[in-house]
């Protein structure tokens, strides 16, 4: 029996995923991308194009390039949605003989399911090429609000593409499956889906092995693209204010702006500030003009707050329609790339007083869910069988208080990891093993799981002893940490029973903290590392001074001693730049020793 493919057949983009060895994964298309634009065209020389190629030529050939076909599939020509779509779609749309819709492409009229079939066919072929096996069966997702006629038209599209459609699956259900939500536990789930061009809310009720859609809401004309547009307008206005030049009429400038706006939006999901840097954006009287602008996360939030608020209002309205309050919702699942925006996550957290689920790539979660449904149908995923994973990173404290990761979060267990460490001081005879759990880079910000001492290390200069540390988690999540001095084979170990059974709230809290403090933490880690570097250098310098006491010029010696003192003082401050400068100075002074030796050698040896 062949594999069943899961397909998220989207309005703007489509994604395909499959279960392999029990795990769902997204399959890249022919062009190497994980998403395929849902666009079909007949080029001017009569060739059929699907996906990114069709998209690239769209404006040269608007009458023969079909996109957003999902807005038309399975509809009656008289539907108000068709009326609306006709206004924004540049290709010809007419009523078919049976009252449905037909679109014109090339010199022929097509039913929407034929167009969707072309997209499905490309996906099928790309996956077959990639996996080297035939695909004949699929699970296709559709919006929860799709009625019978839209669902059967989608199914027909699959059949035209030569596929046996095993199941038509609602998108929110797919998202819930992707998160492995247990069908036997009664719970209510809200799926918040902010796509590129549409916004959808669905409320699902799970219980007794059934997933039932309780309520749906949304706005077909609200999407992530609106956020990009806001940024572009802002930049155009700012630039107009600064330079008195209107960029909105210049297609090249607009294209560069569009890319820069998308990049800025993505970056501001993780950074607090980004730069929009577009040199030579325009010219005035032969003089080139540049665009340089800083955009902060809070500026972006101010530009788009009303869009986010609107989405929360829709959530509120949808809940009220089914007589539920935010407290009744057990899980909130985020779908669609726009949900990466921190403001959206914050508003949801505030509204529900609960952490939304977002660890699966929101662009791919629906396709992943479709693949899991496919896996269930083919018997690969019997129940939702998931290996246990470590919820948080397990680390060991090293010099300067740095948490050195031994087992990263989400590692399937059982698992074992060995690493060799050494001492930080000369003649150090004991090391403290401090085991911590969490995502923060400094040990003290994470949770301490255990501390123990390995002593009896034979005295030796720093860096010489070899301490082997093993982190071992068994199937039941019990972590054993062992430290062994390789010279004496002296061993010390500790068993930690509770390394995986944190409550979900705790885990989310710790992860969130890691996000909030990310920037600050990076700085502190950098500081700790710089201090370590300084300490190492001081140690080396002192060693050189002692080892070559008689051979070094007095002048150089005094200089190095001064530089050591200065670096030591700097090291006690928290000023990274100062420490770095002093490191450089000491390094320069040290290199003078080398120069002195080379200058002396000719006299001595020849």
């Amino acid at each position: 029996m062949g594999k069943i493919l899961g397909i998220d057949l989207g309005t703007t983009n489509s994604v395909a995923a499959i279960v392999e060895a029990g795990n769902p994964r997204v399959i890249e298309n022919q062009e190497g991308a994980r998403i395929t634009p849902s666009v079909v065209a007949i080029s001017k020389n009569g060739e059929r194009l699907v996906g990114i190629l069709a998209k690239r030529q769209a404006i040269t050939n608007p009458q023969n390039t079909i996109f957003s076909i999902k807005r038309l599939i399975g509809r009656r020509f008289t539907d108000s949605e068709v009326e609306k779509a006709k206004k924004i779609l540049p290709y010809e749309i007419r009523e078919s003989q049976n009252g449905g819709v037909e679109v014109k492409m090339g010199d022929r009229w097509y039913r929407p399911e034929e167009i969707s079939a072309m997209i499905l066919q490309k996906i099928k072929m790309d996956v077959e090429n990639k996996l080297g096996e035939k695909i004949t069966e699929v699970v296709i997702t559709v919006p929860a609000y799709f009625d019978d006629s839209q669902r059967s038209a989608t199914k027909a599209a699959g059949e035209i593409a030569g596929l046996n459609v095993k199941r038509i699956l609602p998108e929110p259900t797919a998202a819930a499956l992707a998160y492995g939500l247990d069908k036997n536990v009664n719970q209510k789930i809200l799926v918040y889906d902010f796509g590129g061009g549409t916004f959808d809310v669905s409320i699902l009720e799970i219980g007794d092995n059934v997933i039932e859609t309780k309520g749906i809401g949304g706005d077909t004309l609200l999407g992530g693209d609106d956020f990009d547009q806001r940024i572009i307008h802002y930049i155009i206005e700012e630039y107009n204010k600064q330079e008195g030049i209107d960029l909105s009429k210049d297609p090249l400038a607009l294209q560069r702006l569009k890319e820069a706006a998308e990049k800025a939006k993505q970056e501001l999901s993780t950074l607090l500030e980004t730069e929009i840097n577009l040199p030579f954006i325009s010219a005035e009287g032969g003089n080139p003009k540049h665009l340089y602008l800083k955009l902060t996360r809070s500026q972006l939030e101010n530009l788009t707050r009303d869009l986010v608020d609107k989405s929360i209002e829709i959530v509120d309205k949808t809940l009220k329609e089914v007589n539920l309050s935010p407290n009744d919702i057990d899980e909130i699942i985020l779908v669609g790339g726009q949900t990466r925006m921190p403001l959206i996550q914050q508003k949801i957290r505030e509204y529900f007083n609960k952490e939304p689920r977002k660890d699966i790539n929101p662009d791919e979660v629906v396709a992943i869910g479709a693949a899991i449904q496919a896996g269930i149908l083919q018997g690969d995923v019997r129940e939702i069988l998931l290996l246990d994973v470590t919820p948080l990173t397990l680390a060991i404290e090293t010099l300067g208080g740095i948490a050195h990761p031994m087992i990263p979060k989400n590692t399937p267990i059982p698992y074992s990891k060995t690493e060799v460490f050494t001492t930080a001081e000369d003649n150090q005879t004991a090391v403290e093993i401090h085991v911590v759990q969490g995502e923060r880079p400094m040990a003290r910000d994470n949770k301490t799981l255990a501390r123990f001492i390995l002593d009896g290390i034979p005295p030796a200069p720093r860096g010489i002893p070899q301490i082997e540390v093993v982190f071992d988690i068994d199937v039941n999540g019990i972590l054993t940490v062992t430290a062994k001095d390789k010279a004496t084979n002296k061993t010390q170990s500790v068993k930690i029973e509770s390394s995986t059974n944190l409550s979900k709230e705790d885990i989310e809290k710790l992860k969130r903290e890691a996000e909030i403090y990310a920037e600050e933490d990076t700085k502190r880690r950098k500081l700790a590392e710089t201090k370590n570097q300084a300490e190492n250098l001081i140690y080396q310098a002192r060693k050189i001074l002692t080892d070559y006491r008689d051979k070094i010029n007095e002048e150089i010696k005094v200089d190095i001693e001064n530089k050591i003192r200065e670096l030591e003082e700097a090291k006690n401050s928290d000023n990274i730049e100062l420490i770095e400068t002093k490191i450089k100075e000491l390094t320069n002074s040290l290199s003078k020793i080398g120069q002195q030796f080379y200058n002396q050698n000719p006299d001595q040896n020849i």
Partner: protein, 171 residues
């Protein structure tokens, strides 16, 4: 006597047969699951080999892709030079810097797509804007002709990493 035992023996036989049937079914299920897992693994291995090859070939791809925006800026800088500027050392400097960076990137497998006056092909080009033919009697011979390249496209080791962004004549 023996015949009296029969019903209970029949019972046992029936039970055993049922057990065998159940076990056989289970065996089939496990066998096919195991076979599938095995083939998944082989596929995975193959794909990983392919992936590793790709990683080696395109390890620099993201970095170079990010650098192409700098190349765009350099193109724009050089295009904004007047003939007069180009004769001065400062102007020449720009062009030398461009040569320098392109030389390096070409060593890593970068090829430039600069399709001015070529026919539009969506495999390598992305249409950003269009121009209607304004000739008195358009013979359509220049349909789909690229009349302006906004930003160059790039291949890295023969694979397209960015299409050229172009302006195209349409009828």
């Amino acid at each position: 006597m023996e015949e009296e035992k029969l019903p209970s023996e029949l019972e046992t036989i029936k039970e055993l047969q049922e057990t065998i049937a159940r076990l056989e079914k289970e065996k089939e299920e496990y066998l096919s699951g195991w076979k599938r897992a095995k083939s998944d693994f082989i596929n995975y291995q193959k794909e990983m080999e392919e992936k590793i090859k790709n990683i080696i070939n395109f390890a620099n791809s993201n970095l170079i892709l990010d650098l192409t925006t700098v190349l765009d800026s350099l193109d724009l800088a050089i295009n904004s030079l007047t003939e007069e500027d180009k004769k001065r050392n400062l102007g020449k400097g720009y062009i030398l810097i461009q040569n320098q960076i392109l030389d390096i990137l070409k060593k890593y497998g970068l090829e430039i797509i600069e399709p001015k006056n070529e026919t539009f092909n969506p495999e390598f080009h992305e249409a950003i804007s269009t121009k209607k033919c304004e000739k008195e009697n358009c013979d359509k011979s220049d349909d789909n002709l690229i009349i302006e390249v906004y930003s160059k496209g790039y291949f890295l080791n023969g694979k397209l990493i960015r299409p050229a962004k172009v302006k195209v004549i349409i009828h």
